[in-house]
Amino acid sequence: MNGNSDKGYLASSSRGGHRDKDRRHCAAIVGYDVLTPYGRGVAALWDGLLSAKSAIRECRQFRAPTFRSGKAALVALPDAHSNRSRTMRLLAELFAAPTMRSPSEAELLVATTTGEIDLLENTVLQGTDGNRGKLPDMLPATAALAHVSGPAAVVSAACASSTVALAQAMIMIRCGVADTVLVVAVDSLSEFLFSGFSALMALDEDVARPFDRDRAGLSLGEAAASLLLMSETRAVRDGYRVLGRLTGAAMTNDANHMTGPSRDGAQLTRAICRALQDASTAPEHIAVIAAHGTGTRYNDAMEMKALTAVFDSPRPTFSVKGGTGHTMGSAGLVQAVAALEAIRHGLAPPTIGMRNVDDAARGWVASEAQTVGGGAALVVNAGFGGINAAVILEGEHGK
């Protein structure tokens, strides 16, 4: 199927308007939190994005100066947990002062691409056992930090890991398999990542410039985030305040290339159309778009092709990656939190790093904040291997 046929199906099914949905089929968002290079908490992320200042700096760790770019966005971590992997230190800091109470029996989905990769680095450098740092091995410690004991799984889908995990969590709640799912996303910076992305020539030598006409690559970052999803029934029963809803999701694959996105954006278009269909939401109801926006030439071009194919007119669109860096598996959840805040504040944050907007993004992306009206948010991610994922969020406008 191509994107155009999906868009046609969407138009016929949604009758050009936003339909009231049966709330039982939505996953209620009852809590979320982030730890980013801007600091701990949602307010730190939001203030950082609105400041239009990048958290990407010269990085002296991870042999960064050796590589194509010596710049990255690092989280400032206390030394108290220094005997742990960097990933666990990020999670420990995220959960150090919890802002939401997860039911202990909540199911846990951990979205990541490389997990505790520094444990593997150490085994290679020290010539010891090569079994450390496997992705599923991080589950018990993550569950302990999050104070949950339900079934747990790692979900990995390259840079779309968070969005795919959100989609899975929503489906689990919709079909009644679970009434509470905690989605945790994390990826940490490492020499492994720096060396790899440098080898792929994917790094901007300076700071990433998403959707800029002169963009030259991505900047690396790290983050941890969590989002608690609950059935509406459970949320009401247990007295949780509903902060938003995850109303639709879709995942596709380009099946085209291991690292480069498909130039025509057809499968990303399809993912967005299907997510809207899944949410019973017309494109006109989308008020803001949290784009993947890595700053690479091909991703940003592909993404604009897809957005232009779906929407008849521009929407306030932003990328956080010029500010936080590309936080890999946690990118989608950071974007989701930013999108919820965008709805709440009625503002799309500036796309940090962009100085001269690419023609394809003109009218969509801006280097200053944009007003956001009532409506839903679209969060988009793409990843190596051609993975595409899109979710639709509704939030509390003006609250």
Binding site: L125, G130, P136, R174, M258, F384
Partner: protein, 221 residues
Amino acid sequence: MYIIGISWLRENGYGTARLGLHGEHGGLRDLYRNLRNMEIITGALKDFGRFGPESKRVCLCAALALHDAALPPHSPETSETGLLVAGPEGAQDANLSYFRDYIAAGRGLGRGNLFIYTLPTSPAAETAIAFGLNGPLLYSGRGVADGRHALQDAARLVAAGQARTMLCTLVDRDAVACYAISSQKQPDQPCLPLQDVVAASGETASFEEPWEWSMFAKGWL
């Protein structure tokens, strides 16, 4: 929800459940040649020789599963087919391979052709490119050998309308098994109710023998 095809691949042997195909092979390259000779794989797979070992295993097992499920590659059917890869190892071997090579080369520059395989979804991505699978693509790891959860995760994606068929591929060090899960029966072809396979899986002693699961297709053997 139905299982419409099953395949398995071990160090020296391979097979499918519905069509009853089985044989020995002298390595993955040998198996690739065999599958091409049998026209289970039609045409050369681009860059197959440069795939990482995990990618080769997953790709060949998926080829067998698609054949067993009567799903032609690069078709409207596979355009609505996704891949879920599950297993305790993730991309561990590929990660070690990349980083050891990087260290051995003096820690100056890694090799991009090794780095691209350092994601647990890389084998699935190569498989999707090889056969035109445009559905969801993801890795799921639980730390314990639990193929039942993987089958249910994949089935849930089909039930939710995210794909018409999911190839649930269970991977461990010694074997790969691939289950084609669909919400629709194939016309005039036998299939297994998923719940029967999931229920029977409780009888297995370990995930380490995923190929044994294909033996639960009793109606087919």
